[in-house]
């Protein structure tokens, strides 16, 4: 089917005129372009699960581009959690390249062949392209990339089905029922195939699980003592009560052995879902040498602070601490192992 490509622009929380201008420039650049359907929503992370914004995005059946002020990985899995699922679309924007390849269905022939949750939960065929608005300061690269994606799809459609224009016209004349009812509720006739969703949002704070990394080891559910995590019908971890999460606390993400837990608004890029790629791993953080507590110690401290703040008792290392080393597979040693050994060699 040659549907229009849905383009979602998620606004930032900041009133920074530079950021607002980028959003508006992007809308202006794409408005009236053939083959695109624009929707502007408030900041994705703050959208209520049953709010107008999410309902609108859930009603989109075809391919979509989602541009937001979040790392692409965070956007992808945030949407996934809200039932907006699809294959990660390949984008040529620099920041996301390595990441998107990572997430493709084909394994990158990595030695690490651990089963991931995503293996048992195939993504629907449609594509979701996540663009990170933090990557460029102007709207131009995003507009160009969105046109490229549209053209790429058009080529595929012609070869497969022929005459995409006719099909698109039929499609826009008879929008799918959920879209129609939504537009009726909002009394927006969607002129120029663009719409703005105004939803009163409040700031939220909760984790997002990257199922392409998650191995369902359940360490997070053991560690978090605030009832954020739960298990679905097939015993897979999920963020069940996101709003139970303690504002600002990223402790479970530090405990996760696969770095699968994202807090999209955290100051540390690795926790906020930055692409984990070559660039990051070239540099080695030596802060441990200089006495920084390890991730688990930090997580335990953060959790204790939240427990005390909630009027409960600190538990320290007593509860939900992973016994990681005991189950560690004796895999082949890599350069990092060698480096760690070297570090251990220093008498500190």
């Amino acid at each position: 089917m040659a549907r229009k490509l849905t383009v979602v622009i998620s606004q930032g929380q900041s009133a920074n005129p530079i950021k607002r201008k980028l959003e508006e420039d992007l809308v202006t650049a794409l408005l009236g372009e053939p083959g695109l359907e624009l929707t502007v929503v408030p900041h994705l992370y703050d959208l209520a699960p049953d709010g107008t914004g999410m309902l609108c995005l859930q009603s989109v059946a075809g391919d979509m581009v989602v541009a937001s002020w979040l790392f692409a990985r965070a956007t992808h899995w945030l949407l996934d959690r809200n039932g907006i699922r699809g294959q990660p679309g390949q984008t040529l924007l620099v920041q996301d390249e390595s990441d998107e390849e990572d997430e493709g269905e084909a394994d990158q022939s990595e030695a690490d062949a651990k089963p991931r949750v995503i293996d048992t939960r195939p993504l629907p065929e449609r594509r979701i392209y996540c663009l990170d608005l933090k990557a460029y300061r102007e709207a131009q690269p995003y507009a160009d990339e969105i046109r490229r994606i549209r053209n790429e799809r058009a080529v595929q459609t012609i070869t497969l089905l022929g005459l995409p224009a006719t099909a698109a016209a039929v499609n826009s004349a008879e929008p799918a029922p959920p879209v129609a009812s939504l537009q009726a509720i909002m009394a927006v006739p969607a002129p120029d195939a663009s719409q703005r969703i105004d939803e009163d949002t409040a700031r939220r704070w909760y984790p997002v699980i990257d199922y392409s990394r998650c191995t369902n080891c359940l360490e997070c559910i053991d560690f978090c003592l605030f009832g954020v995590y739960g298990i679905d019908r097939v015993d897979t971890i999920l963020v069940e009560q996101p709003d139970n999460c303690r504002k600002g606390c990223p402790a479970c993400s530090r405990v996760c052995p696969e770095s699968a837990i994202i807090f999209p608004q955290h100051k540390t890029p690795a926790i906020a879902g930055s692409p984990v790629g070559e660039a990051g791993s070239l540099k080695i953080d030596l802060s441990k040498l200089f006495g920084a507590p390890d991730a688990l110690e930090v997580a335990v401290l953060e959790r204790d602070v939240e427990l005390v703040a909630a009027g409960r008792d600190a538990v320290g290392m007593q509860v939900g601490i992973p016994k990681r080393q005991t189950t560690k597979a004796a895999g082949p040693r890599d350069e990092l192992d060698a480096l760690i050994d070297e570090l251990d060699g220093y008498s500190l």
Partner: protein, 152 residues
Amino acid sequence: MSGERVFMMGKFAARFPTDRKYAKNHMWARAEGAGYRFGFSAYAVRLLQDVYFLEWSIDAGAALREKQAIGAIESSKAESELYCPMAGRLVAFNEVLLQDPSAINVDTYGAGWLFDMTGSGQSLLEPDDYLEHLADAWKIAERTIKGQFNED
């Protein structure tokens, strides 16, 4: 009408009402019930200029230490972490600012308030003491600002 003190930041006259106390991290503190209402002082607002975004990393009800990190701010001139001005318990945030922080600039000593806290406030300064503190702080701020401009 209560009085005010003036501190010259270059050619800019920063004004400080004397009906309240001040914290060393450039917040005003007006006694209210069992605690204080806090907001940015004119000195802080002048350095920040237009505030675009305000975010708190703690929830209302939290017990806080002085200088504990509690949030972040983005303005036309700066991005900065924010720290707690005194030991005590945070009672409520000014929720209006989360959607639209412009009141910080428009009505710094009134509608631009940031949060309410309970606590003794023994570390807070009287206006005259705050002005003395500013004299030192301003020298450092000038150096910092100039230093950053030179790098550009």
